[in-house]
Symmetry: C2
């Protein structure tokens, strides 16, 4: 019986009520934003078939999968991301879905990895995807919904930026530098490691892919491009990738969030299935990991065995945004007070307290009814620490007179209520 | 690449948007009800330490646990229920929590078992618990919140009943029948199998526990008791268990749900840690499994190594209530229409459509903006099938005049909107 640990398993989080205030602030903003932009909710079990995950994921992810067998020997795993599941669900009904579809989910995902700041072994992730359209309006709508979510959480616009680039643009520029297309995926993966490993190590990776020293130098030069105009000068104004990016910035301006977007050619996104625009959001100081990221991945459905279908998606985790929110808003973010706390001095006043609670609840008010008789000091101390807006405390005189005092816990104003 | 199944793993559920309408109806009602009654939200990871689960759970549950090891050999499992996790979290902070506490969680739980109606290998469960009070007001508050949840989902009062009994009462009655207290847990477990195995098999189980034929007969006679008054006649009006049950029924009357409660001595609840009042809710026709169930379990915290603390809890799964809701309300439960669908005839009208969408969203309206130019017939067909309340379709004339028509999709009323 002794020596049981009361801790959660390593890397897994417990959420006490004070933690849930923050989590619900994030989850509620996600849901509000996704629905505000016309996304439909879907979900699937966190347990997936291991085969599906391995087919879709790169080698790096496969090593980090929590895999196990059920009692009949089925190979299962806790999903590391939602996208393979989404692709499976869409492929299963591909002939019957009214494309383009806009779907969102708040999905728990697991990765077995070393724990550093902003990384646990599980996290929750808002996934928003638009499947069945090549139009850049898809990217604009997804980013618009993400901006709406950040604003709903209380994050000021100036505290963060969305860094935007394009796999297609980088592909055009690499091709113009004489690097053959077959090598592009390996180049993307190498460049994505920038900041995590040294430039010399990246150069060694590129060399291993068969790039000569001239091509390697040109690749690093491309990463020095600082604006869309500089990129256009290299790619040419007829570049489809440049036109696509200019469309996105113009639509973002119409939608009211152009100031948050910035072109950043260094945004690569590690996973190799992206095909067009890619994006990552960071706090303005770049103190934290990416807040959210995503892009266009037109080949995904084909990858799991479905019909080729254009798609854009994003993942928005709860851990980093929680850290950024606490940094920007401070730990004492405002509490939304609502409803009533009701207390009573002795058991003689309890029936009146129960009756009042029943009446207020029937009027659609939130009521926290004391479970025991309390001294006024104890009752008002607990009520002040709660999220209630009003406190009502019943003593013998209140019950005898049929009228009680209602205290507004914010303004300290006192009003009366009939019992 | 071929032969990947698009199905979810066996026993696990996919939720397409049309399924999420039902799931969110249930989840939202749970959250509304719990918060309406002053419960605070908590959560923990679905992955738990296997040791914790085995300590707490009976043998039957242990065999059904999805267990696995992580890469450093830690023994983990997908939780089969939330209660051990709750006990662990409360024990970890036992000296600092402001008891009594009222906590709720919506927790996914896993059991590896044969799949029958109302049983999958995973389900979601609302857990509401009050910890730190022996008062029957705890039971009344938890049942009141459950009733509020059912009403919020649209379930009529006459379509279901909460069956209430008391482990303490059954203990008193068994003791009065001469069955020693040490045998009571085994008797509870045997009686709980009633309806699942034959009465002869139950009698055999009781015989194996050392009950003689007279005691077995008396045990079955007790199950024939049909009312609280009959039980009181056997137990005596001084019985603490009878007084406790009468208090619960009186408080339920004050709270406005006495008509839903009924005394039913046959409610046992399988798990052996209950110590007082126990309850289970069923549809009025008893076509389905229990909708929710719970009771008082004053020994739970001590069981995981914490300080002994009185507690009442309930679990309310999403599967059975979903089946009952569909049966009672029909598949075509009313859709809550809100917000706008916006469409356009050609790409020339698209900027005006984007601008209108941005304006309405800034006014806090939900907007599903078409991702492509559509013929009116296609647009209005899709809008009619959506959950939007209004549809706006922009053609060249609308953009030229700066005024568009807004169609109410429910009433078919037409109004105008400035572009």
């Amino acid at each position: 019986m002794s020596n049981i640990s009361f801790e959660a398993p390593r890397g897994m989080r417990d959420f006490y009520p004070e933690d849930m205030v923050w989590r619900n602030r994030i989850f509620d903003a996600w849901r509000t934003a996704a629905e505000h932009f016309g996304f439909q909710n879907y979900d699937a079990c966190v347990v997936e078939s291991l085969e599906l995950l391995q087919r879709k994921s790169g080698e790096e992810v496969s090593e980090q999968i929590y895999a196990f067998e059920d009692k009949s020997g089925r190979k299962l795993a806790l999903r590391p991301e939602m996208t393979p599941t989404l692709a499976r669900m869409v492929a299963a009904k591909q002939s019957r879905l009214p494309f383009p579809i806009k779907w969102y989910a708040t999905a728990q995902c697991f990765r077995y990895e070393r724990m550093t700041r902003g990384r646990k072994r599980e996290h929750y992730q808002l996934n928003m995807d638009i499947i069945g359209s090549q139009d850049v309006l898809c990217e604009a709508e997804i980013l618009g919904a993400a901006v709406y979510a950040m604003r709903t959480m209380g994050m000021p616009d100036e505290a963060w930026r969305i860094h935007v680039s394009s796999r297609a643009l980088l592909g055009e520029l690499l091709a113009a530098s004489g690097i053959p297309e077959a090598q592009h995926p390996a180049v993307f993966i190498a460049l994505d490691k920038r900041g995590k490993i040294s430039d010399e190590e990246i150069a060694a990776l590129l060399r291993a892919e068969g790039l000569d020293e001239g091509a390697i130098e040109k690749t690093f030069t491309l990463l020095g491009v600082n604006s869309l105009d500089e990129a256009a000068a290299l790619a040419g104004e007829n570049s489809p990738a440049i036109a696509n990016l200019r469309d996105l910035f113009a639509t973002a301006a119409q939608m009211g969030y152009a100031d948050i977007l910035m072109f950043d050619i260094a945004v690569i996104r590690g996973l190799s299935y992206y095909t067009g625009i890619v994006f990552e959001a960071f706090d303005a100081q770049r103190k934290f990991r990416a807040i959210f990221g995503g892009g266009r991945y037109d080949s995904l459905l084909a990858l799991v065995g479905g019909q080729p279908t254009p798609a854009v998606g994003m993942g928005f985790g709860d851990v980093v945004v929680g850290e950024v929110l606490r940094e920007v808003l401070g730990d004492a973010a405002p509490v939304q007070r609502s409803g009533y706390c009701i207390g009573y001095m002795t058991d003689a006043e309890r029936p009146a307290a129960i009756a009042l609670a029943a009446r207020l609840r029937a009027e659609n008010e939130r009521v926290d009814l004391s479970l025991l008789a309390q001294k006024p000091k104890h009752f008002f101390g607990k009520a002040g620490n709660s999220a209630a807006q009003f406190a009502v405390y019943l003593g013998p005189d209140d019950v005898a007179s049929g009228v009680a005092q209602v205290k507004d816990l914010q303004t300290r104003e006192i009003t009366k209520i009939q019992l």
